[in-house]
């Protein structure tokens, strides 16, 4: 679409038209030149168009940026101004372009993209009367939505809808809805899928204005009613039947991936619809607060859900690379030592005995030897996994890394990491193959440490740094904290990393204080950021 084209807001597709309006303010309510708010190539004077854009959006954008900062994104003032400048050049009715313009100017780290997207969806969600919760409007909305999707090249699925005439989506029986959904998934008709997701939310989520229930509840209700479990199998069955020759396993695999992608798409649509409705009900600020997602480096190890775990795993890899590069550089550069007299005199010979170029003794710090002793029982397993992975990934920075894992028994797992390219795989084997259960499989720090001391204590020497990972929740067993004291005598350093928030320490059966007095340092280590900082200091 050319930006020079005069813009008639009322003729926009209904899905796009109201997205930018908030609290009754719409850009087209303000005196806008017929050229529309965006600067066209040779059109409206910049000042004029700037004010036309600014009025309705400036407040919204300001709130948006405040929320981004609250979510932890570092947005500077210049970036803020850039964003304001950028949206002037983008045709406002193009929501995607608007989103990318904001992203390009405000988000400078790909890991922050999800947080940005969530805030964007809340602040610039589709609004307007067709999204009201009241039922009479809803009928129109569904109708319009279904009409919208007619424009899209989704050939066959539409016939079913047209057959229903003006009655719109509301007239569908649940069976018909399910059937339509099935068809939409089978043919990958995105427009229809979107419309059906809306219809499903409206029908099944049972959303009531002002009800203090989280979005996940509505999501669960909607998806349960749609019964997607069988859908995948049905789709696969149909595909198998339709293909002329029996599907080869590879084809089957590909088809399955395709349908899974489409199902994911449907879920996203349902989520988006629920979010839209919640925003309309509760207001932007409140929703932004409840939906705020921590950045991957701030996700708490102990409370990460599956999705966050995936994000964490993804974030870990670049982190280890960065850490390795940084540590290697630190070793190479920027260490000034005392004057090396001998080398200076030797070097002065080339200047005829004038010590023109002083030489310094560069310290070559010995690489530390690391012993990691990690609790891998339920609650802290994720933390242990990440730390093991991180330490082994940068094992080049240490002279030796040995790892031990325990629950109530203890086992050395260094062998799993030796000569293995894929550290994730090794960590997986640690979790499944290591022999760590002694009696009942409940954490017993006392026994595990005692056994460690008896079996490997002699190998801890003055070059060794011992890292102990765990929450020190000992199930009221004996602490055997003398082991730590002994280790500290032998080792260079003993550090304890605790994945629990500091305020929980020494409550209940946590006895981290008892061990802590014998350690060089006890640190809270709840997220990647803290872990990274600690490892950085260590090497």
């Amino acid at each position: 679409m050319s930006p020079a084209q005069p813009r008639d807001w009322s003729k926009l597709p209904s899905g796009l038209q109201p997205w930018v309006a908030t609290g009754g303010r719409r850009p087209w309510d303000t005196p806008v030149t017929t050229d529309g708010p965006s600067t066209s190539s040779g059109g409206a004077a910049p000042a004029q168009s700037a004010s036309a854009v600014a009025d309705p959006i400036v407040d919204l954008l300001a709130g948006f940026i405040v929320e981004l900062r609250a979510a932890g994104l570092p947005v500077s003032l210049t970036e803020n101004l850039d964003a304001m400048e950028a949206v002037k050049h983008i045709p406002l009715e193009d929501r995607e372009a608007f989103k990318y313009a904001l992203a390009a100017t405000l988000v400078k780290n790909n890991a922050h993209w999800r947080a940005f997207e969530t805030v964007f969806e809340v602040y610039f969600s589709l609004r307007g009367k067709q999204y009201d919760l009241a039922d009479d409007d809803g009928a129109d909305a569904a109708d319009e939505d279904l009409d919208d999707s007619e424009g899209q090249p989704g050939p066959e699925g539409m016939e079913g809808i047209r057959g229903l005439g003006g009655a719109g989506g509301d007239a569908l029986s649940p069976e018909e809805l399910a059937e339509l959904l099935y068809r939409a998934l089978l043919e990958g008709d995105e427009g229809l899928l979107r419309a059906l997701a809306r219809q499903a939310v409206k029908r099944y989520a049972g959303m009531e204005p002002g009800r203090p229930v989280g979005g996940t509840y509505y999501l669960y209700r909607t998806l349960r009613n749609l019964d997607l479990d069988d859908m995948l199998e049905r789709l696969m069955a149909e595909t198998r039947e339709e293909s002329p020759a029996p599907l080869t396993p590879l084809e089957e695999r590909l088809e399955r991936d395709e349908f899974e992608t489409r199902l994911d798409q449907l879920k996203k649509e349902v989520e988006a619809e629920i979010r839209r409705r919640l925003v309309a009900d509760r207001g932007v600020e409140a929703m932004a607060r409840t939906l705020r997602k921590p950045l991957p480096e701030d996700v708490d190890f102990m409370h990460a859900n599956r999705e966050e775990m995936v994000a964490l795993r993804k974030a870990l890899h670049p982190l280890t690379r960065k850490l390795a590069v940084r540590l290697a550089r630190k070793r190479r550069h920027g260490r000034k030592g005392p004057l090396d007299f001998r080398a200076t005199v030797r070097n002065s010979l080339s200047y005829g005995g004038v010590p023109a170029e002083p030489k310094f003794r560069y310290p070559r710090p010995a690489k530390p030897e690391i012993f990691v002793i990690a609790d891998i029982s339920g609650s802290v397993a994720a933390f242990a996994r990440f730390t093991l992975q991180l330490v082994h990934a940068i094992s080049g920075q240490f002279s030796k890394v040995r790892s031990f894992v325990f629950i109530d028994g203890i086992d050395e797992v260094t062998r799993f990491f030796e000569g293995v390219e894929d550290i994730g795989e090794a960590v997986h084997r640690v979790n499944t193959e290591a022999d760590v259960v002694w009696v009942d499989g409940h954490s017993d720090y006392g026994h595990a440490l005692e056994e460690f001391y008896n079996r490997w204590g002699k190998e801890v020497g003055p070059k060794t740094t011992v890292l102990i990972l765990g929450d020190a929740r000992n199930n009221y067993h004996a602490s055997q904290s003398w082991v730590i004291r002994e280790l500290r005598h032998r080792a260079r350093h003993v550090y304890w990393l605790n994945p629990e928030p500091q305020s929980y320490w020494n409550t209940g059966d946590s006895i981290v204080g008892e061990y802590g007095v014998h350690c060089d340092d006890v640190q809270e280590c709840r997220n990647l950021r803290q872990l990274e900082r600690f490892v950085d200091k260590l090497a």
Binding site: A104, N110, P249, L250, P318, K322, R326
Partner: protein, 302 residues
């Protein structure tokens, strides 16, 4: 400011003409960079067309591409400018007999004639339209990054002996990064940020169709689907777009019409570059062939 493009759509169409199939985001950011006169910092996995984007933009705008390849140890004299020391010496030698004062010579040897321009200065001084590509900017040290700041924000270079040289026209600037380290805030702030990820199924298929001669639509579709499936596995290095293209070309050369498990397993080493990745992919494909459980490890949906 030069306005090279009419609208986002124009960017996309023009890029498509030179066989660079851009997504909405890519076209949008290129358009914005042109309008705002800002550099673009392009980040993303290797082999997704970051460098190619700069080349394609140069091609559609009819500009000369000036490329600065970054590496550890890159310094001012390699990136910005250098005085031609040998020529200066010759000049002084030649002057020795003539009766000229020190002032004459010193103003003379620090003039344009003795200046060796390096990519950044060259881009600033260019008369014709240019696209400046600063490749793999994450490889230079943090301190060297500061060299770029003046060029990127004000499009000028200060040379103590000559003064400040300002750009005659605002060049398009692309910086690419493989994200091996965090770039400084100062640098990021001056740029628009664009993350290029692996393309989605349809785009990848189109890319294969556009870039690989003689590939059938069905084969391109299958290639794109298999690559997508592979990317879902946890691999050390997921197949990139360039590897997808290599694979498609190989398949065309081998005269493959329809990819079966055997062909896939035999040629998967073109897509994947680590032995552990290849083993995993083969295992995954073979598990399917034996009719085992469809996807071990992937929980049921619902």
């Amino acid at each position: 400011m030069a306005e090279r493009f009419e609208s986002v759509g124009v960017v996309r169409d023009e890029l498509a003409k030179v066989d660079y199939l851009s997504s909405e985001a890519i076209a949008g950011v290129v358009y914005l960079a042109d309008r705002l006169g800002k550099p673009i910092l392009v980040e993303g996995p290797a082999g997704t067309g970051k460098t190619q984007l700069a080349k394609s933009v140069a091609e559609i705008t009819g500009s000369r591409l000036i490329r600065l390849q970054c590496y550890e140890g890159l310094d001012e004299s390699k990136a910005l400018y250098e005085w031609n020391y040998k020529k200066q010496l010759l000049r002084i030698q030649a002057e020795r007999n003539a009766e000229s004062s020190w002032d004459d010579i010193s103003t003379d040897i620090f003039s344009d004639e003795f200046l060796l321009t390096r990519p950044l200065l060259e881009a600033i001084r260019a008369e014709d339209p240019v696209v400046l590509l600063i490749d793999e900017v994450d490889r230079v040290e943090l301190e060297t990054e500061a060299l770029l700041l003046e060029v990127l924000s004000d499009y000028q270079v200060s040379i103590p002996e000559l003064g400040t040289i300002t750009a005659r026209q605002v060049p398009m600037v692309f910086l690419t990064s493989n994200n091996t380290r965090e770039l400084s805030e100062a640098l990021k702030r001056r740029c628009l940020f664009l993350h290029i990820d692996y393309p989605d199924l349809d785009r990848e298929k189109e890319i294969v169709l556009a870039k690989v001669p003689d590939v059938s639509e069905a084969l391109a579709d299958q290639v794109a689907r298999i690559v997508r499936s592979l990317r879902q596995l946890e691999l050390k290095k997921a197949p990139s777009v360039s590897e997808t293209l290599d694979w498609a070309r190989t398949l065309v050369l081998l005269g493959v019409e329809q990819i079966t498990e055997e062909t896939a397993i035999e040629t998967v080493n073109i897509l994947l570059k680590y032995q552990s990745d290849i083993n995993r992919a083969v295992k995954e494909l073979a598990a399917q062939a034996e009719g085992g459980p469809p996807k071990p490890g992937r929980p049921a949906r619902g």
